[in-house]
Symmetry: T
Subunit: 69 residues, 12 copies
């Protein structure tokens, strides 16, 4: 059985709706160019505020994917 | 163009509904006395438990706002 | 008045729905065998990805409960 | 039942006697102007040295208190 | 000579008297059910406040003990 | 001799010139309203970029000052 | 499909041979009482020294395993 | 309004002149191949020493830029 | 003399043999597409377990390499 | 006015009495060979346990002192 | 080819001019007694404040040097 | 029974063979000048790369030893 190698990159997803949705936004964008996405880890959660309300959720995630052989 | 100065404070918002809602509760309270809120960063997420269920979500955030000139 | 002692354990809850729901899944499982759960703290938030979408949210929490006298 | 909001501030208490006493010194000073102090967390413990002995214990704590409605 | 294996658990001791006493309270409770306690490490020191004074010291420690063969 | 108590606050200074100048900008602003500033600690150093060049240095510092008796 | 729940515990394995072997020693001991071990994470690596040579490697790992339904 | 997605990469800039200049060196190099650089964060600051003097400042920064749609 | 610029990426190498071998596996894979690899730093060491034994060592490393001029 | 240079070293003090006393033990020992001790910072607090009670408090401190000109 | 061994020590350099200059002050002092200084890493950056202005920059660095054979 | 005092120093061992061997190289060198070495802790593991292969493993360890009375 072979020994896989993975690469990890950091992406910041944003959303006006929720913290979970910001992660999904990042995944949609990343999966358009990267095959074999395997896992994510939340690095930090932030947001911009306008008129006392959340304008955009900004969630930084680390994304792991299989490197092609 | 001027160089702005910002202040950061730590607030703990709570909610019976969700982690995102606890952050919104903190923002509503903070915006009643602070103008020019600009961004937040989640510091940690906790909660109290009662009878095996989440009683209150408790989310500590750092809040940044513009200091008046 | 007595001085209580608490124990803390780490549990990873998973969910196909949301990060908050993964925490609730962990609490349901833990409360079936542990009485007196008192609080939780989120340690990290991860997830597995399949076909570019989140397969399972995986949230590690620390759980505190009262030790029996 | 209502959702409370708390504020956290950092104070450095000092004492010639002990590390615990430095925390109490900070609490006495803080409670003179802040009502509803609820909890503290020790951030770090330091001290100044003079002639090979501890001159002042310096303990930085984070103080949480209820924000008025 | 054999290679030992140790287990580490997290306990929160509380005390109305001092931070050191909160650790001792945790040890007394843990030693009633665990043999072969070997060492502890302080993870964090907190406390609850009532009427501007420390109500309970709360010290989280990691406890190491020898696993039976 | 008395036991002093200090408060620490977080400020973000900005500057178009340099990282050191961003700290000085924060100090000028803070000293206009706070007497008895005693020390600062750099928390993090960031910056905004425009057309491939640094637009503003943004340095977050923790500021310690003596609380009045 | 069901949502699994995992528990994580900390074990310190020791070995006179190597750091990797200390991890294996911990796994052998843990697997004698815990079924469904799934993954480990190295927390820290230490060792005792005698006469200028390594006496025992001591590697602390976090062990994750599936909780029975 | 759309939800943007950003990517973050780590670059080490070097300079014989100053720590700030090492950051600028990294930005000049990065902006030659990446459009839409938006912000940087200093990760760590190091340097090589030769004959008791700083030979090269080495500053690791995280660079954020907008991913094309 | 010129001021070099380096890029750092994160790779996860795996191996059935040892933790050191997992790092070598990552280097072999990375060097097939990246010239001028200069250094690595271990970020974390994990592994999957099957039937009580290590199935794959998984070592995350940060890899630094010279960016072409 | 001159610019001072300080050196920092790490010492572990032990005591059978208390955590504060372990720090004092370290200072007494260090001051016998180092002049101009200026400050200390607590790095971590541990202890050995025997028969369910604390045998020795072990407190690691960082010690700062003025380097002679 | 031989395997070198390096030692790392922590020094705090101070300067009235700049953060970079505080590092240089530390290097000048260290190089007067230590040969073979090889690299430094910034641990933290602080400063004392007097009359609202920076009195002394205080930069703690870790210094690596080759141990003689 | 007396209260011991220990000193901790940081050493970087290197090796062309393995990460464990780099630690042993550091111990051999340190034990030639320091008596009473008691324990080590791995701080970080790095390495230099040449032609896509590991040139030298570089492991930073903290070394604890008993201070003479």
């Amino acid at each position: 059985m072979e020994d896989h190698v993975y690469k990890k990159i950091e992406i910041v997803g944003t959303s006006e709706k929720s913290s979970d949705d910001a992660i999904k936004t990042a995944l949609v964008r990343a999966s358009s160019s990267i095959k074999n996405l395997r896992w994510f880890e939340v690095i930090d959660t932030r947001g911009s505020i306008k008129d006392g309300e959340i304008e955009h959720w900004q969630v930084t995630i680390s994304l792991g994917f299989t490197m092609n052989g």
